[in-house]
């Protein structure tokens, strides 16, 4: 038998053993298919930055037709759920108790001062704790007020000059739907979890049970061992991946503007990085307790916060931006957001894939070497 044929046979045996192990312990299959399903459903519906029906306290000190018309404009807006309060004190109390998110206050001189030039005759208070939501709400309130004022002025025959009218063109996501932006990123977060989860416990378990020594005395080589361990999990992980993409397209209606093949290739690369990371964790940790802890710590939160999935990387302080380069999910999120929403933009896909390739080589290389060292010891 040639050496290549022998190597192939050993590899086949190893893959067969791992596959049987996966089939007999259903928890791996659960990780690969049930986890993405549950997580994507939870995340996809749970994570949204689009505020709707914001409870807003309306305080009208002297009701008349003008105030009724403005309150009506707030009522018709999909963004708000206006509640009427008799006095500003009551409204402020409701704000303190978190019953309302903001207050729109029409003072008793509202109608007289309405057409005066200087300042807007309404007072607005918002709960600023969640700065982002406060900013978005502020924008919506401003929008309702301006639209109402313009139509009111028109009805009175007053011509408002508008020297400059901005025409925004929002590319890639004309409706500014946050789901379209979040779901591709979610796939990256979920795949980081799954890839690392799948492998991180595998090797640690063999060490703990003593079966690693048994494997070591067989003629199998380190490379074959690593490939044999990875191959079945790679296939499982890609299955979970495919399912997530299908859900993104048909359940969450996210458009896929780039090519499916490019997406698959980038995903395969990322899956290898993330399996490699898991393998490295389990080789280093050697016991399941530490392996589990490590994979919890280094995968989920960094992928959630530092990948650009929800928090824009360019908005972070410079040193933190440097740190994000160590997070594999960062590159994959950039690829996914671009492939789904913008299309095959090669400079972005290539640059980020190159980074992933480097990480894959590093992770698998270290895992391979570490396994080797243990054999000598």
């Amino acid at each position: 038998m040639t050496p290549a044929a022998a190597s192939f046979m050993r590899l086949r045996g190893m893959i067969r053993k791992e596959s049987l192990q996966i089939l007999r312990d259903p928890s791996s299959i659960a990780i690969a298919f049930v986890m993405p399903l549950v997580l994507l459903l939870l995340f996809g519906y749970g994570v949204s930055l689009d505020a709707k029906h914001i409870p807003l306290a309306m305080v009208v000190e002297q009701p008349d037709s003008k105030t009724a018309s403005l309150v009506g404009a707030f009522n018709r807006s999909d963004y708000f759920n206006p509640l009427s309060f008799d006095s500003i004190q009551d409204a402020q109390k409701a704000l303190d108790l978190r019953e309302v998110f903001g207050i729109v206050w029409l003072r008793n001189d509202f109608s007289q001062n309405l057409m005066s030039q200087d300042s807007a005759p309404i007072g607005v208070i918002v709960n600023g704790v969640d700065a982002n939501k406060a900013r978005i709400t502020t924008g919506y309130i401003q929008g309702v007020w301006q639209a109402w004022f313009e139509s009111y002025a028109a009805s009175k025959g007053v011509k408002l000059s508008q020297p400059v009218a901005l025409e925004p063109r929002i590319w890639f996501n004309a409706a500014v739907r946050s789901t379209d932006f979040l779901v591709p990123g979610l796939i990256a977060v979920i795949m980081t979890l799954i890839g690392a989860m799948l492998t991180s416990m595998v090797v640690a378990r063999e060490w703990e049970r003593g079966t690693m020594e048994a494997l070591m005395v067989t003629p199998i080589r380190i490379g074959e061992l690593v490939i044999g361990k990875l191959a079945p999990y790679f296939i499982l992980g890609m299955g979970g991946m495919l399912m997530s993409v299908v859900m993104a397209l048909w359940l969450f209606d996210v458009p896929l503007r780039g090519s499916f093949w490019l997406l698959s290739a980038a995903s395969a690369l990322f899956m290898l990085v993330s399996l490699g990371m898991g393998l490295l964790i389990s080789v280093v940790a050697r016991n399941q307790f530490v392996a589990g802890q490590l994979s919890l710590i280094v995968t989920f939160l960094p992928a959630f916060i530092l990948s650009g999935f929800i928090f824009q990387i360019s908005a972070m302080p410079e040193p933190i931006q440097v740190i994000t380069h160590l997070i594999p999910a960062r590159y994959y999120v950039a690829i996914l957001q671009t492939l789904f929403l913008a299309g095959d933009i090669w400079p972005i896909v290539l640059a980020n894939s190159a980074a992933l390739l480097v990480m894959m080589v590093i992770f698998l290389g270290i895992a391979w070497r570490k396994t080797h060292k243990r054999l000598d010891a």
Binding site: S27, I31, L39, G46, L49, A51, I54, R98, F101, Q117, S119, A120, I122, V124, I125, V126, G128, V129, D130, R135, I136, I141, E150, A153, L160, S161, Q162, V164, L166, E167, R169, I170, W171, N173, A174, V176, S178, F181, L193, M197, M201, R205, N287, Q288, F289, V290, Q293, I297, F300, L301, P302, G308, Q312, A315, M316, P317, T338, A342, I345, P347
Partner: protein, 372 residues
């Protein structure tokens, strides 16, 4: 009774030793939370500064230059460069070199001087919809100010004024003030789940749990003994992170510290209860880790840590009621920023207390009834 207390203390000490004696697991418990606090505290921000922008100005008049100067002079924007033809727009946006391109047509100044409306275009990269919306909001207010002043200077009736909006509690709308108190909850949850999520599963796998069951320890005592390390470690780490939030990140702590600690204690109890429940359900450590993951990830997502619960669909909002972290987030932010006292937070305390009682009772029951 005295001997019962002794037994519990003995078990608690044994549990603490089991966690802390291993160097690797000690490092895992102390190092990453500190590093993550520092990194995440600064990383998790929705505040936008220096948004990269390119200007394509086909107009040579003074008004357009004035408008461009206002945009580029704003701290929110950073001018990457000027471009001079259409074909340059797409590559800049596609490759994320800029977030937006402001395109002013050749007849801008002319339109303004004739009293007509000029329509400059703003091309925005919508891949991150939140960033796009915020950036658009900033540009809009610069344009509105420009309009108001122009109208004033030319004796015209201007557009509606910009509303003066007063944010309460976080007057300058700093994301860090919102995120850092959230991180206190986030990291305490992770640490507690790690400590408790495997504590029973590991003993079951090693067979020592059966030995524990045949000792004079009653299930209640085992339950308390196993809960103490999680609560203790959680309290220590939680206090440390609180300390950092106040003295390093300088988030104002306006409310009652007692109210905060009551919340932390109840939160830890419920997290420990869930952790022990997962751990006693699991037959192997792998299942324990999987369970911890399956609990941790949704808890974080459905807590309001990063995205508001009120944005979620109603069904999902109901689901958040069984998540202890949801209540703890309100307590943390309420005490830090809104200056809440314990009375104001009663409705956050009792759900956590119920979750703690139910999960701890279930965990204790599972000790004996989950044996194969």
């Amino acid at each position: 009774m005295g001997s019962s207390l002794q037994r519990i203390i003995a078990l608690a000490i044994k549990e603490l030793l089991a966690i802390l004696k291993d160097k690797k697991s000690r490092i895992v418990l102390i190092g990453p939370p500190i590093a993550q606090l520092l990194v995440f505290g600064y990383a998790a921000t929705f505040d936008l500064n220096h948004i990269p922008l390119a200007v394509y100005n086909e107009d040579r008049g003074a008004p357009s230059r004035e408008l461009v100067a206002r945009v580029t002079g704003s701290p929110h924007f950073e001018l990457v460069g000027y471009i001079d033809h259409d074909a340059q727009i797409a590559p800049l946006i596609d490759d994320k070199d800029v977030l937006m391109v402001l395109h002013i047509g050749p007849h801008f100044s002319e339109a303004l001087k004739l009293g007509n409306t000029a329509h400059p275009q703003l091309i925005v990269d919508g891949r991150n919809s939140n960033t796009a919306l915020l950036a658009l909001g900033y540009i809009r207010s610069i344009f509105t100010e420009f309009n108001i002043e122009w109208a004033e200077n030319h004796g015209q009736r201007g557009p509606p004024a910009i509303l003066k909006i007063r944010p309460w509690y976080n007057e300058n709308l700093v994301s860090l003030w919102f995120i850092v108190p959230g991180i206190v909850g986030l990291l305490t949850l992770v640490v507690t789940t790690i400590v408790t999520g495997l504590s029973v599963a590991r003993e079951r796998e090693a067979g020592t749990f059966d030995q524990l069951l045949v000792t004079p320890l009653r299930p209640v005592e085992i339950l308390i003994g196993k809960s103490v390390p999680g609560v203790l470690i959680g309290l220590v780490e939680g206090s440390f992170i609180l300390f950092m939030a106040v003295y390093w990140f300088e988030v104002p702590l306006r409310g009652s510290v007692g109210a905060l600690y009551l919340g932390m204690f109840l939160f830890l109890l419920s997290a420990v209860g869930i952790g022990l429940m997962i751990s006693s359900l699991a037959v192997t450590q792998q299942q324990g880790i999987l369970g911890a993951f399956l609990f941790l990830v949704p808890s974080v997502i459905l807590s309001g840590f990063a995205t508001p619960i009120s944005n979620m669909p109603e069904v999902v909002q109901y689901l958040t009621y069984i998540n202890p972290m949801r209540y703890y987030m309100v307590i943390l932010r309420g005490v830090f920023l809104e200056g809440d006292s314990a009375e104001l937070l009663v409705h956050q305390y009792w759900p956590m207390a119920i979750i703690a009682v139910v999960t701890l009772a279930l965990a204790g029951w599972l000790f004996r009834h989950r044996m194969n």
